[in-house]
Subunit: 475 residues, 2 copies
């Protein structure tokens, strides 16, 4: 089988990048387009284009893209909409391979903008040059240390997550997603107005991209062939999970979406929802869920069973968590009698160990013993348990109640539980005092969520996707 090189290779793996509209003022976005590439040590050639400068960050500046001596794979254009057609003309003359138009002010703004966008389209016709945007801020490829973005970004942790965005909403939270939520990115593409490149192109690319393990799509409308989009989903989801945040679901949201990218949302949300489900995609409601699920799918394979064991520091939290398990398609595991017998050793005599487990009480009866790890260790070997949701911490001054004594030991312990075939999601009730531990756990791919409901929602999605796979394989 011969693999045809997908045209988006030019965007994700360019050997050279021109930044048209590069600025020397660090207080403008256009300075950082260049600076981020420099700081990340992007290994390709960087060509800043600015007629009023000769040098930027040690790089030679060019008055026009046409003056660049070498080949230009990717031209990132960040000039006002009105100036864009002239620059695009230069790019065509230069023979660049791909273009990103960052500025807004095109079809989303009405008649005048629409005619500007049409002009750009005309200029590119028959040129063979593909175009991302307008109103798009990307691509990003962590393996190449490539980002077309405002940043500031000087580190791209590498992973299996690839994102398709409708807009630059990822931009102001990028560092937070990487450093605090510990999302490990593979690639990211922002489609903006989708004048040329659309969601179908991006999905095709990520289907064949071996380093992409999870595909996350934020979208407001379908610009390409809708039937092809949903057919692709059906092909992909048995191999890779696809998480979809589709906004513009309500009348007000649709109106807002239209003034955002100029797209008209044609189908009702119910139709869309059904098609997504048939395609095996996991639909999410908001950004919290979007990134929560991205993380769990990056860290874990799908779940084959839905039997969950819960350990919380109070019985009340166990009850709340149990309700959320139900809403997320998980059932409360019934541990084997062997497990129950083992757990009896850490329970007060009058209490029968039962799922959800109340670690608060057993902590009080076992000072100095990390009862949460006794739970997890016991249930890791229990054939009746598929996954675990565990509350981190408790009053920090009480030995045994603070389940996590030494970071290294704890991380090794939980990796051991995972290696025995269980998915573990933790939640913390005090992100401040547990921060170092959370960082260490997530660096070792044990996800920690800010609440039980979010931990359980993530595990539920892992099971739901397991079912998608099972159905696809005729199981």
């Amino acid at each position: 089988m011969t693999e045809v090189r997908h045209f988006l290779e030019t965007f994700f793996n360019p050997k050279s990048v021109a930044i048209i509209g590069a600025s020397r003022n660090p207080r403008t976005a256009n300075y950082w387009l260049t600076a981020n590439l420099v700081n990340l040590k992007y290994p390709g050639r960087i060509y800043p284009v600015n007629p009023n400068a000769t040098e930027l960050l040690g790089l030679k500046c060019y008055p026009s893209v046409k003056d660049i001596e070498g080949e230009v794979d990717l031209a990132a254009i960040s000039v006002p909409a009105q100036s864009t057609p002239a620059v695009v003309r230069d790019c065509v003359e230069k023979g660049v391979k791909g273009i990103v138009i960052i500025a807004g002010g095109f079809s989303e703004t009405g008649v005048e903008g629409k005619s500007l966008q049409d002009e750009v389209k005309r200029l590119l016709k028959d040129s063979g040059i593909r175009c991302l945007g307008p109103n798009a801020l990307s691509p990003l490829n962590s393996a190449l240390d490539l980002i077309i973005g405002f940043g500031p970004t000087d580190r791209l942790p590498r992973g299996r997550l690839s994102f398709i965005f409708q807009s630059g909403l990822y931009q102001p939270r990028l560092n937070y997603l990487l450093d605090e939520m510990h999302l490990n990115l593979n690639k990211l593409i922002d489609l903006g107005n989708k004048m040329d490149i659309n969601e179908v192109d991006a999905l095709e690319y990520f289907q064949q991209d071996a380093s992409t393990g999870v595909i996350c799509i934020h979208m407001e409308s379908i610009a390409g062939d809708g039937r092809r989009f949903f057919r692709l989903l059906k092909e992909i989801t048995p191999q890779k999970p696809v998480i979809v945040l589709k906004s513009g679901r309500t009348p007000a949201g649709m109106k807002a979406a239209s003034s955002h990218t100029g797209a008209i949302i044609k189908s009702s949300d119910i139709v869309f929802d059904t098609a997504l489900r048939q395609g095996g995609a996991l639909r999410v409601q908001g950004l919290d869920e979007f990134f929560d699920l991205a993380k769990v799918f990056e860290y874990y394979p799908p779940l084959k069973g839905n039997r969950i064991a819960i350990a919380s520091f109070s019985g009340g939290e166990g009850v709340i968590t149990t309700d959320f398990c139900h809403f997320n398609g998980l059932t409360i595991a019934e541990p084997t009698s062997e497990s129950v017998k083992k757990l009896h050793t850490i329970f007060p005599s009058w209490e029968i160990p039962a799922n959800p487990f109340d670690t608060g009480v057993s902590s009080q009866f076992n000072p100095g013993i990390d009862v949460v790890s006794v739970f997890a260790d016991t249930l890791a070997d229990d054939p009746n348990v598929d996954c675990l949701a565990l509350q981190m911490g408790g009053p920090p001054q009480l030995a045994g109640m603070a389940p996590l004594e030494r970071i290294e030991k704890v991380v090794t312990f939980y990796r051991g539980v995972v290696s025995r075939g269980k998915a573990v999601a933790l939640w913390t009730t005090d992100p401040r005092s547990t921060k170092d531990m959370v960082d260490a756990l997530e660096a070792s791919r044990i996800p920690v969520y800010p609440s039980a409901e979010r931990a359980v929602r993530a595990l539920g999605a892992l099971y739901r996707y397991g079912q998608v796979r099972k159905q696809a394989s005729g199981g």
Copy 2:
């Protein structure tokens, strides 16, 4: 009208507290019951009871509650269940006024525990002593620097929020709620097994308690008179908002609730839900929503109108937020032509200022100008706008894109917007880099949420409650 002193006064405003089971070992919970009162400088008398010690934290220790010379208003009993009846007998002989039983191991654990609980009940019968629990960890009264809890707690910020909990789930997150989520507590009571004192007593108390402005109830079942409970709700909600987190909603959750406090949930969740709505209570789904709403109601009066203005750093985030507004009963405001005219000055020529507002673009066109505050300032005077949801921050290095330049100035600014009659909720996409600002804003009662959906959900609840009030007043 003569006000009868409610019996819970003994629990919330005791002049003296005995800690029965006080420990000298800081690695046990029972040490901190005393230490927290000492550290908070609770102004009443503290009597640690421990037959094996003569002194604890500079306080005289007593072998038995009967050996205490002075009067004991509140006796907190933290000994194992089996030892509890003997201690309760001592309390009856001493003539304490109120008792809290902290340990579990009673009716929730089966026949044996049930008979222990019955024994305690018998001992207290005809004694006139009221009892909280068993399986209860409270009360708390910030005005008195009183807490019966494991802590460690050395600071209780004072406010109008009073909580009724079914369990000690608040305990491991208490410091986080106070210091990081900036909830300002008034009083808190944990009911546990509700052998004697139940949710009806607590609700009655908070109804007449002038310093309680908002009542938040976490419950799994009704132990008291259900009709009285819902009648009370109906009386209270026109005056004070009541937020209810009722868990044990699903079959699995009900089962878990029963092994948590021994209660049998009799009515279906749908019946309960209807009764709550008729009582004017605001029902929430999980703990995130519970505390999010508590905060917004502590900070703001109810909303009379539901017209919201949104400013986000990207159009895509505006669309997502708009959908959530719809789901939360808010409508997108149509600013007056005067407002639109004013906003034109910060928009690029091709863009018509429209709600939701995209501040990312206008930031790029107005380097050095804090465009978000131009928005908020303009809309603060707009009669078509009832509330605002605004995204904090953006790429931090871009002047004007970081909306918050100087903390004091910003806080004063937003207080000004609020003083012009608008409720403002902010959300941050990077809690790390905005932490100092968030702390300062919330200290000045401007709520900041970790996502747009949570900001909008809180504002929606303010409006929903406004409608409850309007209906109650026949409006």
